[in-house]
Amino acid sequence: MLCQECNERPATVHLTKIINGEKTILHLCDKCAHEKGEVFMMHGGAGFSINNLLAGLLNMESAFHTAQNTPFYQQSEPHCENCSMTYQQFVKIGHFGCPHCYEAFKDHLKPLLRRLHSGSLVHSGKIPKRMGGSIHIRKSIEELKLVLKEAVSKEEFEKAAEIRDQIKYLESQLDGYFQEGGN
């Protein structure tokens, strides 16, 4: 098979490209494969795995950062204070060293997470029960505000007033949290 890019040399590299979940396979020669600067990953015989996909994304991320974001003079690599994993190590293995790595690599992670999870970066699922009531209260307030909006738009003013009272109550609880120094 000839390389799809130059149609000259034999295709030796088979790349899977993923954009928004759409997969295309490209057959390229070594030279053209190197010249392509997009999101690529090696396509082995056994198909692609999520880890390959991830490694591809991460490598692109790191290339991106070296090229554009990291000023020349600032050579010190980002690393996690807690487990001392460096960002380069993370890119290589695709796994974090400890929970603190997320905070340590925060700025680098956003584009990656956005790509992996189709855009959203904010957790909207379960919250551990003991994880401080304040999170739960804030979530409830958000939810109630939506209900309130709906009630108002449907002109259900009695219901809306009730909800507003609930929100006020929760907000007063939230104040209590901060005064007591809770989380």
């Binding site: 999520i50 487990c83 796994h95 974090f96 400890c98 929970p99 970066l121 957790h123 699922g125 379960k126």
Partner: protein, 354 residues
């Protein structure tokens, strides 16, 4: 070992019981990835940390009787024989990763094997709930209940903004992977599946064969699961998966009806030929076995074959894998010996039906 006794020991409830939409959906699985704060992930943790994690997780569920589940039993990977571990993998109770790459791996198992908690694989632990048929929400409910119990004792690695922190960024947020195993012979025979898979991928879900390598799906068995774990609630993830699965069920049923209308005799012929092979073979490779099992199962679902229970597909796909065959034989087998064993096991299992 007699086949009855072997089956008694071998079968988990999700393989032998029937659930909703059992003619197409074989099983539903929910997995929650969780980590304990102030411990490094298995990527970097020390032996001491690993052992402490096993203790902590075990202690959080020890002596607890979960309603409808019972107590959980702890199995330490290093204490098991290679064959025992392989069988656990073949039953989908642990991952190949836990066997091959984990240090200080362990698993907590419920008696009916619907619940398994893998410890020290990629994350500190992963709660898995595996039910027969289409029961994703039920599986999520059970997994959540177990998660709540463990969370009373352990401080989780959790961030208010990005949720449950996991070793791999593909799981962060809910840590939830929900998947449904489906038998889709109608969509394969009518060649609709090739168009359907990319369409489902575009929705942020993944479809793949679970037996066989690469793109082939042995036994026409496919797994549909969510890919996105961040930014959606558990309920939304499950609802979206459920709605895609419902569409697939409708399409599969439509394909089967079409086949019955347009090529009934060809289909019947195919089903009974496969039944003939399975009941008479003396040597059979896993690929041929899977394809014949799928035909026979379709024949049962469409009423061509009567008096055979549906779950033989599920059962025999599992127990004709190499680990199980060797356990049934009571020792290691070379590949050609496995093919002979596989044939014997299938014939004997079919005889039990008559």
């Amino acid at each position: 070992m007699s086949i009855e006794r072997f089956l008694n020991q071998a079968l988990s409830s999700w393989m032998s019981a029937e659930g909703p939409e059992s003619d197409i959906v074989l099983s539903s699985r929910v997995r929650l990835a969780r980590n304990i704060s102030n411990y490094r992930f298995p990527t970097l943790f020390s032996s001491e940390e690993a052992k402490e994690i096993i203790d902590k997780v075990y202690n959080s569920v020890k002596n607890k009787v979960f309603p409808g589940i019972g107590e959980l039993e702890l199995l330490i990977m290093d204490d098991l024989q290679p064959l025992q571990k392989r069988v656990l993998v073949e039953k989908h109770l642990i991952s190949p990763n836990l066997v091959d790459h984990a240090t200080h791996g362990a698993v907590l198992l419920s008696e009916n094997e619907e619940i398994s908690i893998m410890i020290n694989e990629e994350d500190h632990f992963r709660i898995q709930c595996l039910y027969p048929g289409l029961q994703i929400s039920e599986a999520l409910k059970t997994a959540n209940a177990i998660d709540d119990v463990i969370e009373e004792y352990l401080d989780y690695a959790f961030d208010e903004k990005i949720g449950y922190l996991t070793s791999c960024p593909t799981n962060v947020g809910t840590g939830l992977r929900a998947s449904v195993m489906m038998h889709l012979p109608g969509l394969v025979l009518t060649q609709q599946i090739n168009g359907i898979i990319p369409a489902i991928n575009r929705l942020g879900l993944v479809v793949r064969g679970i037996y066989g390598e690469g793109s082939e799906a042995l036994g026409n068995i496919f797994q549909v699961s969510n890919q996105i774990t961040l930014g959606k609630s558990e309920e939304d993830i499950v609802t979206e998966l459920q709605s895609v699965v419902n569409q697939l069920i409708a399409q599969e049923r439509g394909a089967r009806e079409n086949l019955a209308k347009t090529s009934s005799i060809q289909l019947e012929d195919r089903v009974f030929r496969s039944y003939g092979i399975l009941s008479n073979c003396r040597i059979i490779e896993s690929k041929e076995a899977a394809s014949c099992l799928s035909d026979v199962r379709l024949g049962i679902d469409m009423g061509y074959i009567k008096n055979i229970s549906r779950n033989i597909l599920n059962e025999l796909m599992i127990i004709t894998q190499p680990g199980f065959l060797q356990q049934y034989a009571g020792g290691p087998l070379r590949p050609n010996e496995r093919d002979v064993r596989r044939a014997t096991l299938i014939r004997e299992r079919l005889k039990m039906e008559n």
